[in-house]
């Protein structure tokens, strides 16, 4: 057991750069202020979102309390959302940490049980998941606790619930990842098999989610109302997307009585059972899924001069950078998962929602598009979802960071910073445009928008992509994360992605809000968006090139 603890300490230290931070702080006091400054900026940036969310929860509590005293449903809302996010994104996170980090090769060679390695790595992921969970769950818990004048037990249970909450979704994600990796650790084309395996798994998770929901949602409106108005009916309905969230909610809502304690016990026991099952399967399957996974098949194929000449082609420097970025993004699993897969996933989630539960939700939409205002709203919804996938595309804000220790090559090759940025911009834009086509066509078809409407939304989202790309690259050029030992850190644990995502979400959100609030005419709305995005894109481009040209010289790898 000591080995597991000491392994956790080492992994924690390297994953969060503790020693490096201490060293920097010791060497230069300014580093402490820099670090504190970044934390302060992050807190300030997120505060309005958290405040808005808390306000929404307080309002929802007021409304829901009037329905048979069901204010506790706000806790279910936060918990269920958080669990689904952890399950969904945790799957990719654990696969990367378990199988694709550089340290795994060394760890496997040490006299450590597979369950120790997995347990330590699982704990690292768990700590990161709290960052997503706490902002989602804490506000509704506090709102409920204060408004319902909850007792001491409520607060004790809530601390335990929050601490244990990610265990079940993360264990499911881990079990799934171990099974996928074991099943795909075959043949010469492992990387391809694994990516296919991951895609199938994620669709399987979505499929199961939707199936459970479909089973629990009756199509008969009277039945629905009956269920909702039953005692804690809303909690049961909402928790259908992730059933254990009902136990958490009920343990808190009923914390004053023995039933709450029983739900708490049930939840704790289920959490422990899931973790044990994960460690047990890990002990049996982890090495089998890992060993040999880093082998790369080589053809060592004898080729003649004519064949070689066919492969030798000339490209401009900008396109050379583009293709370098393109191949690397496609072939590094962590980059592919975080940058390419979401492009297909966002529209897929909506298509699946439509096919599984669509009949109910979308019937209302058909009524909406029968008049101009309705079509306007549908179009804005499609645009918003497309823009959401644009602003959270991690490709631009990790453009430099992804180069990591290879960045020094970009410093010695005779390619100007301008050309390098252009190559990276083209690369990000190609990905985003593919995503925009997927999103607008899939969502436009579901919302039954006209072709011209879909095309206009595509143009607007693409113009927005230009601005988002420029801002994202700007942020990454300002402070690229070049020192990492695991590609996952360059994309998933890179603050630049988060900062860029939320900043771009904020200004795009404000812009869309202004359009919806003041312009009731769809054509005027579109024209304003096109004009703003085009002007902003053109204005930012020279600023970015100018800044990058100065910054590239100063960045020393």
């Amino acid at each position: 057991m000591n080995k597991a603890v000491s392994l956790f300490k080492i992994l924690f230290n390297t994953a969060y750069g503790i020693s490096s931070l201490k060293y920097k702080a010791k060497k230069d006091r300014k580093e402490i202020f820099k670090f504190a400054g970044i934390i302060a900026i992050l807190i300030i940036s997120f505060s309005p979102i958290i405040a808005g969310y808390s306000f929404f929860m307080a309002k929802a509590y007021g409304m829901l309390s009037e329905i048979n005293g069901q204010g506790g449903a706000i806790i279910t809302l936060g918990v269920a959302t958080s669990c689904v996010i952890i399950l969904f994104f945790g799957f990719f996170y654990v696969i990367s940490i378990f199988y694709f980090t550089n340290d795994t090769e060394y760890l496997v060679s040490l006299p450590l049980k597979p369950s120790y390695i997995l347990g330590a790595k699982f704990s690292i992921v768990l700590l990161a998941e709290y960052l997503f969970e706490i902002p989602l769950v804490l506000p509704p818990v506090i709102v409920y606790g204060i408004n319902s004048k909850a007792g001491v037990l409520f607060w004790i249970y809530s601390v335990m619930d929050i601490a244990l909450m990610p265990l079940i979704p993360l264990s499911i994600a881990s079990i799934l990842s171990i099974l996928v990796m074991k099943a795909t650790n075959i043949g010469k084309r492992r990387d391809l098999f694994r990516i296919i395996g991951m895609i199938i798994s994620i669709f399987a998770i979505l499929g199961v989610e939707f199936y459970i929901q479909k089973m629990s949602i009756s199509e008969n409106p009277q039945e629905i109302m009956k269920k909702i108005f039953a005692e804690n009916g809303l909690i049961n309905q909402m928790s259908s997307i992730f059933p254990p969230s009902a136990w958490i909610s009920l343990s808190l809502v009923k914390s004053g009585v023995a039933e709450g304690f029983l739900y708490m016990i049930l939840f704790v026991a289920a959490s422990i059972a899931f973790v044990c099952l994960f460690l047990y399967l890990g002990e049996m399957l982890y090495f089998g899924g890992y060993i040999g996974s880093s082998e790369t098949a080589s053809k060592r194929k004898k080729i003649n001069e004519a064949e070689l000449n066919g492969e030798i082609k000339t490209k401009s420097k900008v396109m050379a950078i583009f293709w370098r970025e393109f191949w690397i993004l496609l072939r590094v699993p962590a980059f592919f998962i975080n940058n390419v897969l979401p492009i297909v996933l966002v529209p897929s989630i909506f298509i699946l929602t439509y096919f599984f539960t669509g009949r109910l939700a979308m019937n209302n939409n058909e009524n909406l598009i029968s008049n101009v205002n309705g079509s306007y709203i549908s179009s804005i919804v499609v645009l918003c979802i497309t823009l959401f996938s644009v602003v959270f595309n991690m490709t631009p804000p990790t453009s430099l960071s992804r180069e990591g220790s290879d960045f020094y090559i970009s410093k010695y090759i005779p390619v100007t910073p301008k050309e390098q940025i252009q190559g990276k911009m083209v690369h990000s834009l190609v990905l985003m445009i593919v995503g925009n086509i997927f999103c607008t066509v899939a969502l436009g078809a579901i919302a039954k928008l006209s072709f011209i409407n879909i095309f206009t939304i595509f143009v607007i989202s693409t113009l927005s992509s230009v601005c988002v790309t420029e801002i994202g690259i700007f942020i990454d050029v300002f402070k690229p994360l070049l020192v990492w030992d695991d590609p996952q850190k360059a994309v998933k644990q890179n603050m630049n992605g988060l900062v860029s995502g939320f900043f771009n979400l904020l200004w795009n959100g404000v812009l869309i809000f202004i359009v919806v609030k003041w312009l009731k005419n769809i054509t005027l709305g579109y024209l304003l968006l096109v004009a703003v995005y085009a002007v902003l894109g053109a204005f930012l481009y020279p600023l970015l090139i100018n800044y990058a040209s100065r910054r590239y010289v100063k960045i020393e790898p």
């Binding site: 080729i303 000339t314 072939r331 010695y412 090759i413």
Partner: protein, 251 residues
């Protein structure tokens, strides 16, 4: 701005270059002056942490000197950056790069950024791949290459544009005897065309046999620069380079 004139024989000109890291008072390179002429193989020697790689990184534009200037074939690396970079081919000390690119993709990338015309790149790629016996591996990912193979493909990538100056950081590390021999042979051929090779090494034998001149750096300062004859004269005896090196760097 290009300042190289006819009769000006310096292919690499390093003037009073200093560099320290992260505001530290200890200088990794301290007031380095070095001139390397056309047609010369120059060996840069020094113990670990002496400042060899820092010097090379400054020559190639990876690091910025705190003071001083560096010119490659007359172009200032800080002011006329792109033209200066076009003058050299650089082989870093660690060949672990772009693991997810195939050999052919890496070579095409290097040929593109150094603007090598199609017919020339075909000719050079074919002959260099043949010479380093890498033709069979060119469709494989660099990830599948051994250390030596990676070193060789990087050497090929650096030579595709037939640069005036070769800058090689520990180029022999990881190479098998045959490839090492080929590289040394190529260095000689290169200088016979009036071009320059600048390389750092720990292998004193290689430096002794191959170099026209050597420079020895210790604690950031150049403590000797001259031919083998000059170094022996300096040491006043018929000592081996190893002994002279040890004596100089242990002071």
């Amino acid at each position: 701005m290009r300042t190289r004139k006819v009769g000006d024989e310096r292919m690499i000109q390093i003037e009073d270059v200093s560099k320290s890291y992260g505001g530290s008072e200890t200088k990794a390179v301290d007031g380095l002056d070095l001139n390397i002429e056309d047609g010369e193989i120059f060996g840069f020697l020094g113990p670990n942490g002496a400042g060899k790689t820092t010097t090379i990184k400054m020559m190639t534009g990876i690091l910025n000197p705190d003071s001083g200037s560096i010119k490659i074939n007359g172009y200032d690396i800080a002011k006329d950056t792109i033209k200066a970079k076009m003058q050299f081919g650089y082989v870093p000390d660690n060949p672990d790069m772009y693991n997810k690119l195939k050999g052919i993709e890496y070579l095409n990338f290097m040929a593109d950024v150094y603007e090598v015309p199609l017919n020339l790149r075909k000719e050079r790629m074919t002959s260099l791949l043949e010479r380093f016996e890498l033709s069979d591996a060119v469709y494989d990912l660099l990830q599948s290459y051994s250390h030596g193979m990676k070193q060789k493909i990087i050497v090929i990538g650096a030579l595709l544009h037939n640069p005036s100056v070769w800058i090689l950081d520990e180029p022999m590390t990881g190479l098998d005897p045959k490839s090492s021999f080929t590289l040394k042979e190529m260095m000689r051929e290169h200088t016979l065309q009036g071009k320059t090779v600048f390389f750092s090494t720990h292998v004193l034998e290689v430096a002794e046999k191959l170099c026209d001149r050597i420079g020895i750096i210790n604690k950031g300062k150049l403590i000797f620069c001259g031919s083998m004859d000059e170094i022996r004269e300096y040491a006043k005896g018929d000592e081996s380079l190893e002994n002279i090196f040890l004596e100089m760097t242990e002071k």
